[in-house]
Structure formats: C-alpha cells, structure tokens
Homo-oligomer: 250 residues x 2
C-alpha cells in the first residue's frame, strides 16, 4: 500500500513512532482548534449559539452507543467485548448510575433548552446528520481494529474536557452548573477508554499498511468532528445561514 | 403514520396534489436558491471558487452511476431496469457517445484544472464526502420507490441547467465554452428522466404513508445538495475556512 520509490514496501513505524503519528493527527485536526470551539472557550458564544451546539452535538452523543454496539458485533473475543461494553453503559446508564445521554439532556436543560425538544432532534442540521452518520458507516464498513482506531480521538479529549468545565462555569454564568456532569464524567471515562484503545491498536497494527489504515480512519474521524462544527458555525455564526425550511413541513 | 387528531389515517393526496407537494419541496429547498449558486449565476465567483465547485461537485457526479446501480439492483422488473440503465450509460458513456463524467472532466479542464487531479478527488472536502455518501446510503437503505423519489430533484434542474450554460458563457469568459457539453447534455436527459421517475412515483405512492415517505427522501436529497454548497461556500467564500490539513499527510 505504501511503496517506496524502489517498489519495496515501507517498514512499519515502531510503536512509539506510530503513536506519535496518531497524536500528530490530533495536533493538526482535532476539533479543539476549530474556530467555533475557540469562540466557545473565549466565552464569545451567544446563548442561542451554545444551545445550537448542544442540540446538534446531541445527535453525535445519540449514535455513540449504536456505533459501539457495531464494534461489539465485530469482535469474537469475549474479553474484548467485556471491556468495550462499558462504553455503551457509560452512555446509556444502568440501574446504579446515570448515563451520558441523560447527562447531556441535563446540560441542555441547564442551557435553557427543553430536553424533549432536544431529544426530538428536529433542530439537528442536515450536514450534522450526514457527518455523524458517516461515523456510523465508517465503523460498520471497516475492520475491528480500524473501528477501534476511529475512537482514538479520545486521546485528544481530556484537556478539552477539563478546560470546558472551567470555561462553561466561568464564562457562561447563565448556564446552571449542575448541567456539567457530562463533562466531569468524561474526564474519567475518556482517558481510560483511550488507553485501552491505544494499546489495542498499537499491538495489532504491526505492518505499515495497517498503520496507514488506522491513521486514515482517525483522520476521517477528526474530519467528522470538524465538519459538525463547520455546520453549526455556518448556520449560527458566520455567515449564519441555516438550511432552507421545506414548504411541506407539517 | 399520519394520524389526524381523531386517530384515523389521513387520506392520500390526489396525484395532482402529490405532485404539487413534491414541487413545493423544490421551490423551498432546491439548491438553485443557495447563496453559492446565486453568486455563480451573478458572475461573482472567482476562478478559484468556480474551480472548487467543479472539483467538489465531481464527487457527486462520481457516485451517480453507483447509486443508479443500487437502484437497478432493487428492481425485479426487466422493463424498469431497461429504462433506468440509460442513466448509468449517460454518465459512463459507451462506444458511441461520451458520458457525463468525461464531459465533467472537460469542464474542469476548461476551468483551468488538471483532469487527473480532479479525478484523484484529493481536494474534495470531507463535508462534501459525508453529504454525497449520505445520498448513496439513502438509496441503499430505502425501498425502490423511495430511491426513485430521491432522484426527483431532476424535476427542478432544467431551468437551472439552461441558465447555467448562458451564465457560464457570458459571465466567465475565461472558461473555454467547449467545456459546457455536460450541461447541454443534461438539458435533454434530465427532463426525460424526471418524467419517468415522476410517473413511477405517483403511480405507486397511493397511500398517505407512501407519499410522506417519498416527500421525506426528496427533502433529504435537497438537503444533501444544499449541504454540498454549504461546504464549498464555508471553505472558499464565507468565512473561507478549509478543513485542517493532517500532520501526517504524506
């Protein structure tokens, strides 16, 4: 897949080089560098703009347990499945603890939205649906190790999450701080999940071809998250053009 | 699917009402009303902006024969397939005539692009891929009549195409007019295809539920085309932010 000029395949990167390559993708393209996130973390979003992000990002939250179920379904290893199923429970909750989806709806309420309205997803922008659905399709159509690699954006999330709690508490005082449990939970979950995923991917991607494939899906995943913010920015910030309403919406 | 307040299902629209409903979707949301198209038809795009549209729209052109093959594969009627296969040949060409894809690459050349570079699709924006791939997935995951209904944006295309030839010839004099054969071809093909598709859909969508489903996929298709232009506009016009380059692009 990656011939040198002499035609011989390139040797694989060492595990350390490979991890550095994956981290470089995040350094270049993780959505913490998107102008919409920069506005958010500068306290410069209006309430409606922050609400729009919460409404649209909910669609991403919504598909996470579904894409994790697709990953479970790809595995023939009960030990892997025992580890991975925790991600679904993190989002859906169980008898003993609240899930991330429920916490996200509390964030929505804290921002002045109606949780039922957010849950209806009627305000999710079409371009956000297309990007998020692309994540589900990416996972469905790729190998298990590639699907796991696409989750490695979690490597880049903890710093963003830690900043976000402080940012939202300080810069958006109208936001009820009880709505921030989602982010506090992710501070614990994401590093644990990322560690597991990174070990899984580095142990199995031992050829240049596999390393290239893992890097490619991680890059696509970054583009998906970036495109989600592009769409929210386009509709609600600059130029501020939401998609057309349909003449026959009833 | 569409209960009245009394709980009884709504009666279907008459064929004339149903066609009017479909046309209203186009009137509200077909991409001829998108600000990027308005700029194009006002002669206000720069050469690079028009090039970017040609590069990105090529990805849409590229998947058309593939989605039409998915539609062929859904049909158990040789007569339907004999009619529909013409769409694939229109795009791919045959021994006797040039296909739309080849004509699109001539448009690219006429605009100062390298056809091989366009063909590589390396400049296709991620958000354009997500929107266009959503069209393929829409067709793959829906019934035959819904897949046909999603093609009915052709109903709205002829006027746009007729204007476009005149606009590009007049307002973009640096564009070699021999590159416009694609649009001249579509002036003949699109009305013929739309007539066939409209008859197929109206004959089969004889319940309110089926009419609602056809309207829904046509609306989604309009959102797909609209989102494609949103992405090009966002990256190349306002605010003019292309997606991040990956640190490991080699």
């Amino acid at each position: 897949m990656s011939p040198t000029h002499s035609g011989a395949p390139l040797p694989p990167d060492s595990p350390e080089e490979f991890v550095a390559r994956l981290r470089a993708i995040g350094a270049a393209a993780y959505h913490d560098k998107h102008p919409f996130h920069l506005l958010m973390h500068d306290g410069r979003l209006t309430q409606r703009q922050l609400q729009a992000w919460i409404e649209n990002r909910f669609y991403y939250q919504w598909i996470i347990p579904k894409k994790d179920a697709l990953i479970l379904a790809k595995s023939d290893d009960p030990a892997f499945r025992r580890a991975w199923i925790g991600r679904i429970i993190d989002h859906d909750g169980n008898a003993n603890r609240e899930g991330g989806l429920s916490k996200w709806l509390k964030l929505a309420a804290a921002a002045g939205l109606e949780p039922d309205d957010v849950m209806s997803m009627r305000r999710v922008l079409p371009a956000v649906r297309f990007a998020v659905d692309a994540y589900v399709n990416l996972v469905a159509s790729h190998s298990l190790v590639e699907a796991v690699a696409s989750s490695l954006t979690e490597l880049f999330a903890p710093e963003l999450m830690a900043n976000r709690v402080a940012v939202l508490e300080t810069l958006y005082p109208w936001l009820d701080e009880r709505g921030l449990e989602y982010f506090r939970g992710r501070l614990v979950e994401a590093p644990r999940d990322a560690e597991f995923g990174l070990q899984y991917v580095t142990e199995r991607c031992v050829t240049r071809d596999l390393q290239d494939r893992a890097a490619a899906v991680l890059a696509t995943k970054c583009h998906i998250l970036w495109s989600l913010l592009d769409a929210v920015h386009f509709a609600y910030v600059t130029p501020g053009w939401p998609p057309p309403l349909m003449g026959t919406d009833r």
